[in-house]
Symmetry: C2
Subunit: 294 residues, 2 copies
Amino acid sequence: MTDRIAIGVDLGGTKIRVAAVTSKGEIIGSPVNIETEAHREKEIVENNIFRSIKEVLEREKLATKEILGIGIGSPGPLDLKTGTILNAPNLLSLNQYPLKKQVAERFSTPVFVENDGNCFALGEARFGCGKGASIVVGLTLGTGLGCGIVMDGKVYHGATGTAAEIWKTPYQEKRFEEIVSGKGVAEIYERKKAIKIDAKQVLERAVKGEVAALESWKEFGFHLGNVLAFIINLLDPDIIVLGGSISKAFNYFKENMETTFRMNVNPLPADHVKIKRSLLGSDAGLLGAAALCF
Amino acid sequence: MTDRIAIGVDLGGTKIRVAAVTSKGEIIGSPVNIETEAHREKEIVENNIFRSIKEVLEREKLATKEILGIGIGSPGPLDLKTGTILNAPNLLSLNQYPLKKQVAERFSTPVFVENDGNCFALGEARFGCGKGASIVVGLTLGTGLGCGIVMDGKVYHGATGTAAEIWKTPYQEKRFEEIVSGKGVAEIYERKKAIKIDAKQVLERAVKGEVAALESWKEFGFHLGNVLAFIINLLDPDIIVLGGSISKAFNYFKENMETTFRMNVNPLPADHVKIKRSLLGSDAGLLGAAALCF
């Protein structure tokens, strides 16, 4: 039984979220959450990573030789061959940090490192609303715009391991990420009301029925619809799963998102593709990370 | 020896181009070209298809039982399961025409039907400048914008057979195809000089050194660069091959195309991906079509 357990680590710029996961995608106990303290020096961030893994192993009384390994989803860019973090904007003190090597040495177990967007997509493909689908795209709508592609249960990496890094794509004199993200919706709102608030607050105001906030989410839905059209036209996936903090506003941007992508996609794929909210929520990343070991 | 020969058919809106092809991608003799006469009734267009195939078989003294089959690249949209042409704008009289069934019945040999953009990409991947590459994207720049994706020597179809139909993607208040196409460059030129000429003439004027024509191709290069960025960011391919009549202007749009996609793509894939002009030229489509049989 214990040989079918892996540790999944969702390494974020704010939090590290870790759990022991069975090969069926069940989390044992509940995930451990530790602050990343990404602004502090390398040794402290590294120790936070080690500490979070150690806590799960000790709590669940797992010896590292009893687990399949440790899977880690990390912000990119990464060198996937060596499992090294390159100049990740959210983890600056871990610039050029050999994550895979260091964790493997510390815990004497196989370690797998993957881009966080890919882990989200893999988690949803294996255990979430992409289960049974052949081509799954995951989009994480948060501070930035993450993306991952899973084909037949495996992460699609492309030629250099950078497939699905769509955030940088030119869009309306800007880039996808500047518009289809928390920052983007905050800017849309600011243009309407000349007030700087964050995406979470724009959602709160929409829930209260404020017109400018409701309109902002509609406009966001239009832009997201264009991003979906771009993905569907090139990849023709079975399902696109939306995660990240911004996906909480789903009901407020859904209608415009749907209308827009349908206008810009052929009827056959438009009728086939499912656009769903993440089923696994904040666990998708660590479940996908654990799935790297199975 | 003869069991390694297939017939490749490039069925276009203007011409039908057919040849016998060896499994090494060698054309036996030279291709037969026949006018499609797409504006005429179904029976005439059908007869032109039959006639062009018959001519190659007779000229090369091939019995249909000696060949592997007939591969046909056709304008889309297609129903790939049945090999039926749906409402293809360039072949209106063949609306709902069961191409695969009709050709198979006429010649009593296996018939394979595929989207023309995919055939172009497959031809270049198997026998052209994509040889040896794992992820190949083909772009045909002509009246419209065609695209095909080949992964590990096979056409990537997506979930509904419509992958790579990027022409419809929203771009600058229009669609990719309206800007990155012959029509697009003609419009760019018209905005500069208030004269309506076609893309071929814009190229002729650029060759003569006319400033407005040279500037038009540079602007075209900028837009094409954005399309490349979109493809590279999502798919991270090894190579993108440019074909179609507009690719003849390669030297006039190349520089701006390069600068633009490099600005909008991460350094790793930007340095890895090759952007090449088609090596097979007007034979790429029929070679890819023949390759469907191998």
